[in-house]
Symmetry: C2
Subunit: 326 residues, 2 copies
DNA sequence: CTCCATTTTGCATACGTATGCAAAAACGTT
DNA sequence: AACGTTTTTGCATACGTATGCAAAATGGAG
């Protein structure tokens, strides 16, 4: 039963051609006569032959593999991102070498793993890597793209939502509605997403002469729920709460509901991400929709072009008005 | 700048040894003198050398890669599964080639992709594959394990929660509580998980002389919400609702809340999976916790042993009593 | 220092594919 | 049929590593 793995040589023998010819049949753009192609394909099909991607990668210095490192898979936003990445990369002919990381900074080890497999590019989602590692990758001519993160000290491509502007627009909306008692619940403070959302939000309002209340969250439901609950218990009931992401906003929303505070009549709530859950009837959360598809397209684009000139792309997105705002 | 990729040969030259010696330094169990090892490691570190996994895989017929095909990444349960799989596989020295699929049956193409890369095993989560494909894989001596699915016509290893027994135990609990007006909201009917949960549940109750109401869901929040809402509107308010998974139960729960029906006083709700969301304060859903970690350990175990004798493992798990049951 | 046993090393080859080069085949023109 | 042109083919080699084998180096005992 121990059927040994069949190679181009085996096919060649049965088809009465050379191994080169077999190879050419499976190499697009190579010159093979129609007769040989037919013969080879027939035998290949019978033997169930498929070219070995490792050997091919070895000789072509091209593996068709992309490393995808992802953090914080708890946030539903990234599930959608993961799904879309794998699908779009597949369309482009790439396979995905997946790594899940718990640290804010991807570890050397993960990258080494990617390098050993000669990935053609690395996408890092919701995490960072040291500038030393980035330099090393660039020396090896491997593009690396940060998705939804960037850092001034890290010279590499990055794609994210224009968090500053988005938060600023949200602030504008809130301002126009006449709200003045405003709360922002942050995400993890060491993330550029949270910092930018906070900056865009507070700067706009400060410019209008409004100081807001900032609660230090961590992008988790639990923490946000707890913060909101405590705030209300301490007698502070704001007019509007803006959460650094949807999970945060939903945590606040649930806390308000639990305390029988009506939304949006007494307190408005706004999130960020537009995860699927936000459109569930029990939430109907007003939120900022990140242009996921566009962001992913651009990321893959940067990967494919691999230009020496590094870009920091920031895409817009749009506000979605649901039932947690008036 | 175009720094070319460095090979064992380069290291060998600088360290004044042969390529074989360099190779042996990076092959555990090979015989190298301490002196050479030191020399080689020093140079390797300077040059930033790491053995090429492709070349190694080619010659050793061992790639340290595992194919992971996953369906329905929308269900939060599978995010936890994905995270745990990648971590545990990494611990065992495997890299994960990830594929996301939308079809109930993994397509030939995905498998071919895995095969081209010489994966050492394939894990299929929440989906099936044709018995033809399985046979082909077995012929190539590649183990394939279904996670949370099985099928009588597919002769391959599988690991899942013992859904029949779990649902049966839940039925027992419900019966003991004295409930008689009972609703089960199914998942997708073509999944073994949903079928088994339905079977364990209904069989137990039928045996007690109780007929239950079955609503055909699809594991989605929206459908479950809608089904529950319609049922109540039609005047049927049961004593307890059992959802085929947590997302289903949460959909029902939210529908009940929206209609101001108190849980668990008027209606109890029970789910299945114990996803993170179920322990959110606003839900506190009573549910069945699948023994994820154990399931994953067993799956990896089967992968490693790759015995000719195929097993269908069913692990137990346990009931978690929260606030949606009395 | 000599001899033998053991360890370490290098050489050569293999893994399965792609590709430059030259030979062979096919084709078209006169 | 003879020639030149184009297409197709096979040969040989390369990619970067692991490993059997024999040669070389090391170590220990006398």
């Amino acid at each position: 039963m121990e059927k040994k793995v069949i190679s181009a040589k085996d096919v060649a023998k049965l088809a009465n051609v050379s191994q080169s010819t077999v190879s050419r049949v499976f190499t697009s753009g190579a010159s093979v006569s129609e007769k040989s192609r037919k013969k080879v394909l027939k035998v290949a099909d019978e033997l169930n032959y498929r070219p070995n991607a490792l050997a091919r990668g070895l000789i072509k210095q091209k593996t068709n593999m992309v490393g995808l490192a992802m953090k914080d898979i708890q946030n539903p936003f990234y599930h959608e991102v993961l799904g879309m990445f794998t699908q779009k990369l597949k369309e482009k002919g790439f396979s995905v070498l997946f790594v899940y990381t718990e640290n804010e900074e991807i570890e050397q080890e993960e990258i080494n793993n990617f390098l050993e497999y000669n990935v053609e590019g690395i996408i890092v989602t919701d995490a960072l890597l040291s500038s030393k590692v980035v330099t090393k990758l660039h020396n090896n001519n491997i593009p690396v793209i940060l998705f939804n993160r960037y850092h001034k000290d890290i010279n590499c491509d990055s794609v994210s939502c224009d968090n500053i502007n988005a938060a600023s627009e949200i602030a504008g909306y809130i301002y126009d509605e006449g709200y003045r008692d405003i709360v922002f619940i942050t995400g993890k403070s060491n993330t550029s997403t949270s910092r930018d959302r906070q900056k865009g939000f507070t700067d706009f309002l400060k410019h209008k002469g409004i100081d807001i209340t900032i609660l230090e969250g961590d992008y988790s439901y639990e923490e946000s729920y707890h913060l909101t609950e405590t705030m209300i218990e301490n007698g502070h009931q704001p007019e509007v709460i803006f959460g650094a992401n949807d999970v945060t906003a939903i945590g606040a929303l649930d806390a308000l509901k639990a305390m029988s505070i009506s939304v949006p009549e007494e307190v408005s709530v706004i999130g960020f991400d537009d995860i699927k859950m936000s459109s569930w009837p029990s939430y109907m959360l007003s939120t900022w929709a990140q242009p996921i598809e566009e962001m992913i397209n651009e990321t893959i684009n940067l990967l494919l072009t691999n230009s020496k000139h590094k870009e920091t792309l920031k895409l817009k997105g749009h506000f979605i008005h649901r039932n947690t705002t008036k």
